[in-house]
C-alpha cells in the first residue's frame, strides 16, 4: 500500500505489480488485438467483437502454454533418470 501511495505515474515503476505481473497480460493482449484487427480486417464491421475474441484467444493460449510447461517441468523432467 505504501508503495502505491508513493507512486508517481509515468515517472516511477508501479511496484504493486511485482507479485501480480501475470495480470498485465490482459491489457497487453487487448492492445495487440486492437492493432492487429485494425490492420487486418478488410471492413471494420463488428470490430470490438473481433478484438474481444482475439484477446480471449491470446489469454487462453498463454494459460494453455503455462499449464503445458509446468506439466513438463513438474511431471516429465522428474521422470528422466539421473545420469550416473
Amino acid at each position: 500500500m505504501t508503495a502505491l501511495l508513493a507512486y508517481i505515474p509515468f515517472l516511477d515503476p508501479i511496484n504493486f505489480f511485482h507479485d501480480w505481473w501475470y495480470l498485465l497480460l490482459l491489457p497487453l493482449s487487448f492492445g495487440l488485438s486492437v492493432i492487429y484487427k485494425a490492420m487486418r480486417m478488410p471492413k471494420l464491421v463488428r470490430f470490438w467483437r473481433e478484438v474481444t475474441v482475439m484477446t480471449v484467444q491470446i489469454v487462453v493460449g498463454m494459460i494453455a502454454l503455462a499449464i503445458g510447461v509446468s506439466l513438463f517441468v513438474q511431471v516429465v523432467i522428474p521422470m528422466i533418470p539421473v545420469m550416473p
Binding site: 508513493a6 505515474p9 509515468f10 515517472l11 516511477d12 515503476p13 508501479i14 511496484n15 505489480f17 511485482h18 505481473w21 498485465l24 491489457p27 497487453l28 487487448f30 492492445g31 495487440l32 488485438s33 486492437v34 492493432i35 492487429y36 484487427k37 485494425a38 490492420m39 478488410p42 471492413k43 471494420l44 470490430f47
Partner: protein, 170 residues
C-alpha cells in the same frame, strides 16, 4: 484455370504514408484516407505505449542501457525518443557505477551514507518484472508499428465505406 483467380486490388507504394506512420502512430492510414483504421491503430499503439510507461516508469525506454530493446521501441516514432530523452534527463541522473573503481567507490560511499538524492533517483529505476513488462509493452508497440509502417508502405486498398478512394494517389 487462370480465369477462376479473383482480381486482387493493386498495391500502392506510398513512402510518404510510411513516414507519417512512423512520425505518429496511425497517421499513415489517415493520410491514405482510412480515418477510422488510423484512429484505431493510434488508439492501440498509444494504449500499449502509455500502459508501458505507467507500469515501468520512464526507465522502460532507455537507449543507453537497453539498446536492443530500444531498436524495437524506436519504431513507435518520435514519442519513444522523447521518452528516452526524458529518462536520461530525469531518471538516469545518478551514476549506476558501483564497481571497485574510484568513481564506483565514491558512488557506493554516497549510497551507504544515505544520500537522499541518490536514494530518490535509485527508486525511479525500474527493476525486475515490472521493468521487464513495461519494456516489453513499448517494444511490442514498436514492432506492431513496424508492421503498420510496412502495410502502408505497400498499401493494398480495402473495400469499405470508411476509405475515400479519391484521396488515394495512384
Amino acid at each position: 484455370m487462370a480465369a477462376s483467380r479473383p482480381n486482387r486490388p493493386e498495391r500502392i507504394f506510398s513512402p510518404s504514408a510510411a513516414i507519417f506512420a512512423w512520425l505518429w502512430p496511425g497517421l499513415g492510414y489517415i493520410t491514405l484516407g482510412e480515418r477510422r483504421r488510423g484512429f484505431l491503430v493510434m488508439f492501440g499503439l498509444l494504449f500499449l505505449f502509455v500502459c508501458g510507461l505507467l507500469i515501468g516508469g520512464l526507465d522502460c525506454v532507455d537507449k543507453k542501457n537497453d539498446k536492443l530493446w530500444f531498436l524495437a521501441q524506436g519504431f513507435c516514432g518520435p514519442i519513444a525518443f522523447v521518452a528516452d530523452f526524458a529518462n536520461q534527463k530525469i531518471v538516469q541522473t545518478v551514476p549506476m557505477d558501483f564497481t571497485p573503481s574510484a568513481a564506483g567507490q565514491a558512488n557506493r560511499a554516497r549510497y551507504e551514507q544515505g544520500d537522499p538524492e541518490m536514494l530518490r533517483q535509485l527508486g525511479r529505476v525500474g527493476l525486475g518484472r515490472v521493468n521487464n513488462i513495461g519494456t516489453l509493452y513499448i517494444a511490442l508497440a514498436g514492432l506492431m508499428n513496424l508492421v503498420v509502417i510496412l502495410d502502408v508502405l505497400y498499401y493494398t486498398p480495402r473495400p469499405g465505406p470508411e476509405r475515400r478512394r479519391s484521396e488515394v494517389k495512384r
